[in-house]
Amino acid sequence: MELLASQEDMSQDEALRFLRKMEQSDQLGSFEAAYQTVKYLRQKISDSQWGKAREALDLVKEQSARLLKGQRESSVGNMIRRVMKIIKDEHFSSGKEKTDERDTQESLQKLLLADDDEEEYNQPKENLKESVIDSMCELLSELETSAEIVCANSLEHIQNNEVIMTLGNSRLVEQFFKTAVNKKRKFQVIIVESFPNYRGHELAKALTEADIKTTVVSDAAVFAMMSRCNKVIIGTNSVMADGGLKASSGTHTLALAAKHYSVPLIVLAPMYKLTPQYLSSYDQDKFNQTISPHHVLPYNSGEIINRVSVSCPLYDYVPPDLVSTYATNIGGYAPPYIYRLLADLYHPDDYNLKQELNS
């Protein structure tokens, strides 16, 4: 623990302050949110006195209530689940060889007949704290390298003379294109500007500075331009448990146009974006967030303002059948495989964090 309390570590509430700041603006991105969450939890776990897995889990739960309050970024919840999974895994593996019984590929029968885990976590284990903290450091370094690993595959996806469409501005997509161009690939990018933030303009600026031929089109020109594209490469807010996407609004249209012209849709999704939420596309209000409509219709538009209802949702749900491939930091996967990754990364008891917190 002395090792971990080094200079670069955050002070007690610095991480929490950071997360509060992030809550107020969506500029910081899901990577920072994930990274700071793990760092914060590591701090809490190493600072507190605990000997049993149950105590550590309670500690994480207590913190997660604070972290998740009003949190827009799903990667915060994902990282809490990853940490809980680490504690559970380390509990079962510390001091003895990992038995088949606790393998992630539990059969239904074994799940039914298994003893109550709640009892099990009260057993004290030797060196549990050390191994949990070690695993959390591994998780942090996995996060640090995730973007780099995704981008390392850029040459597999981008060929010479291709025309690639993207929407809005994802830092990962920008890095992905830049990696390809640094490896001497010549290609063209069509950027959909993405109302209301016009993030596409920022991406266009960054790409032209990296000497990539770039064309900016409006959100309405997606279908018209798709006939000229070879690939669509986008980032996303999160990857849902069914293999669908929660991505910035306009992505569903983009995916439909890509499907119409049989253009592959590649989603760059580091694993911290994988969330165990399921959604139906008809259940928009439960997952979507709407922001101030003044971007859509300015308040100074005169008398019409009084009689019109204006909405400005932030996200689109994209069903899994419209996605061709996920390029993740642990390899490329098709949407039907996402459920398996989910089982590998999170413990099934932690899927619904909020419900557990409320109970």
């Binding site: 032209t208 309405a220 018209a224 249209t253 209802s309 400005c312």
Partner: protein, 204 residues
């Protein structure tokens, strides 16, 4: 309650809705708009003036996935109906059509038969009208991050005005003679040619 979803400003649509609002007091419309022209705002103003009872919603084109499940039908105007059944209309129409198809909402095009053209086009890129790219670079009438485009030889801003909707997304064309499927466009053109109504030259 009847929800009609419509896209961009069109004089035919305005008249259709004004008529419909008189007969259906519970009619409500969702207007979809796009950059850079924001013609939907003008449509909204006109509609509110002509039908005081109509309840209106207004969204931007990238939110259509959010509002489409609420719509019971989509009405659009057209710039031209081509001989192969494709509908040429204001940019963004094809996106609305594909979304309507996804949610199984009927997509109806209101179009007088004088707009039936004997030319053919299968995608929007082949022949189109280019708008001023400055309109796209400006954000809320102010210079955006791309205003220094002249110093960036790699950067292009493309502001195309029309797009072509494939006939499989169009449920029906509502014309002054009948409600017809897109595939009947050549029939209308042939009949009109017999009576010398349509110009024979394909690219007149």
């Amino acid at each position: 309650m009847l929800h009609v979803f419509l896209f961009y400003s069109s004089s035919v649509i305005l008249k259709v809705l004004t008529e419909a609002a008189k007969k259906h007091p519970k009619l409500s419309v969702i207007i979809v708009d796009s950059r850079p022209k924001f013609e939907g705002r003008e449509m909204l103003r006109k509609l509110m003036r002509s039908c005081p009872t109509l309840s209106c919603s207004y969204v931007f084109i990238n939110s259509i996935s959010y509002v489409m499940p609420l719509a019971t039908k989509v009405l659009v105007g057209a710039y031209a109906v081509l001989a192969n059944g494709h509908v040429m209309s204001r940019i963004g129409t094809a996106q609305v059509a594909s979304m309507a198809k996804t949610y199984n909402v009927p997509f109806l095009v209101c179009c007088e038969t004088y707009k039936f053209a004997s030319r053919m086009q299968t995608d929007s890129y082949v022949s189109n009208e280019l708008g001023d790219s400055k309109q796209l670079m400006n954000i809320n009438n102010r210079a955006g991050p791309l205003s220094d485009i002249a110093s960036r030889p790699n950067l292009h801003v493309l502001n195309i005005c029309y797009d072509v909707t494939p006939p499989d997304y169009v449920t029906g064309l509502i014309t002054e003679t009948a409600v017809i499927p897109c595939t009947s466009a050549p029939v209308v053109i042939r009949v009109k040619q017999q009576y010398n109504i349509v110009n024979m030259k394909p690219y007149a």
